[in-house]
Amino acid sequence: MSADVFPLPIETEGLARKSAWTRFRRHRLAMAGAAIIFVLALACFLGPALLPFDETHIDVMQRFAPPLAGAHLLGTDELGRDMLARLMMGGRISLGIGFAAMAIAIAIGTGVGMVAGYHGGAIGSALMRFVDAILCFPTIFLLLALAALVKPGLISMVLLIAATSWMNVARIVEAQIKVLRDQDYAVAARSFGASHLRVMLRELLPNAMAPIVVAATLNVARAILLESYVSFLGYGIQPPTASWGNMLNNAQIYLTSAPWLAILPGAAITLAVTSFNFTGDGLRDALDPRMDIR
């Protein structure tokens, strides 16, 4: 996006001296997003220890207790389990899947993108056509079709989400590497006798990090969403293990009598995904090389 015509010369003066971190800090929504992610993660991983209720403890006397009334802060579900404890434990699963699937997707995508971008030619175009072909399948269709074939579980969920999310990363990395491999420093490194692998990992990868970091952040958001879709539809994380997605699985039945069963987990998903998306947006603005006017 090109800047406005008139403010441009004034703004660039300041930008040149500012680091990415300073620019990120000025992006208030991104800062808020990063702070919310930190608090959410802290609450999910430390919170359950502070609560008097166990997330699997069934209390039939306390079924459908509404939120903000009585001992259960956020109420209870259809089996009398504490909603807050379940939200925190579900958050561990959902956030955990988000990060794990992102890490694998980034690894595969970066690997494929680097090889395709660096070598180009027949290997490169074959790899990228394969990427294009998988992208033809709407993600949810592909993910559900694959999820129906395997035994549902934590690990299979992570692997399946990663398997359907790495293609965009590969595209981004391929485009970057294609440009970078012809830069002087890369050519120089090769002429000094550096191996292809060394040029890729030591020279090109560090310079392609910015878009990869942005893609990684947005990928966590996407993975959390995908987990919620698949678990909501019953092919993801299986009860009694809670995830934000499968907590919504039964919620539609009790929509009339206990709407908080539907509202709370969905709000948690939306909050987490929005935060990751804003953080990614802020990172893009902060790291975008086009903003680096020298």
Binding site: V5, P138, I140, L248, Q252, L255, I263, P265
Partner: protein, 316 residues
């Protein structure tokens, strides 16, 4: 434009071949492969299974099977549903209309609303409206579609009682008004994400064009601001956006699947989930292949429209 089109068509055919290979591979990954349906039946002996396998040609080498499968797909023979033995193609065709109604209505709304929001946001950049629209669009993109559907049902059906909670029509009614009444909630849910995407792209495109030299030239010549925007900026910014309709197709299909589930809408997404539930792999595969094919056609059309909208493309 001729060579460009020819190259794109050739690329699409190549992609189609890879897409079909992926589809065939997934089908054979299914537990027991295409034989799983027969293997589940208790009366089947191993000899029966072997005989069926021979009759279906499943004992042949994989490449031969693949080519045979591909030939059948191309001639419209997509196999038979495990559930009721109906041809897969007719099962899918009977669900297509409901899905397309949903998708067409929400795309239309999203295009009009999203473009309006995007243009206003770009013209009044950094205004309160622009900020609110930017934040709103990001939240809309982050909400799980099915959850938004649940909230819509809770608000408009349970609490207010304005809209039906699901299905395509009231049994025994089915008048146009009744059908439209049932469409409101699912279309609204599906249009939310779409609107956000259109608004973001429109804002970016308009901002991009406003920064161009010829806009400055027009202003310098003293062209009234309205004419600068209407005749110069918007025309150039919005024309390439038609391609978005093609490129958004996969997201839209995925959204339709989830929306249909929440609203028990009898479309392709609902059929896909039911087929997964019944392990009806031929139908699952048929929908998977059809959706990939539609996405492919969507992006091909986007490219062609773009070439028509932007004369510079003809050089490529």
């Amino acid at each position: 434009m001729g060579p460009f089109l020819a190259r794109r068509l050739w690329q699409s055919l190549l992609l189609l071949a890879i897409v079909s290979a992926i589809g065939f591979a997934i089908l054979h990954l299914a537990p027991g492969g295409p034989m799983s349906q027969f293997a589940q039946s208790a009366q089947m002996t191993q000899e029966d299974l072997d005989r069926i396998s021979r009759e279906l040609g499943l004992d042949r080498p994989l490449p031969v099977q693949y080519l045979d499968w591909l030939r059948r797909m191309l001639t419209g023979d997509w196999g038979r549903s495990y559930r009721d033995n109906a041809p897969v193609w007719s099962v899918i065709a009977s669900h297509l209309r409901a899905t397309f109604e949903l998708m067409a209505a929400s795309t239309l709304i999203a295009m009009l609303l999203g473009c309006a929001i995007g243009i206003l946001g770009a013209i009044r950049r950094y205004s309160i409206f622009d900020m609110a629209a930017t934040v709103g669009a990001m939240i809309a993109l982050s909400i799980p579609t099915f959850w938004f559907g649940l909230i819509a049902i809770y608000l408009f059906s349970v609490e207010l009682g304005w809209l039906p909670a699901g299905n395509r029509q009231t049994i025994g009614d089915g008048s146009l008004l009744d059908v439209l009444h049932h469409m409101i909630a699912p279309v609204m849910v599906l249009a939310l994400v779409e609107t956000a995407v259109w608004a973001r792209f429109t804002r970016a495109a308009v901002l991009d064009v406003i920064g161009q030299d010829y806009i400055r030239t027009a202003r310098a010549k003293g062209v009234p601001e309205r004419a600068v925007l209407g005749r110069h900026a918007l025309r150039n910014a919005l024309l390439p956006l038609i391609t978005l309709a093609g490129l958004q197709f996969p997201t839209l299909l995925g959204g339709a699947l989830v929306t249909e589930t929440v609203f028990t809408w009898p479309g392709m997404g609902r059929l896909f989930l039911d087929s997964i539930e019944y392990r009806d792999y031929p139908v699952v595969m048929g929908i998977l292949m059809l959706s990939a094919l539609m996405v492919l056609i969507g992006s091909l059309m986007a490219d062609m429209l773009y070439a028509v909208a932007d004369p510079r493309i003809r050089l490529g």
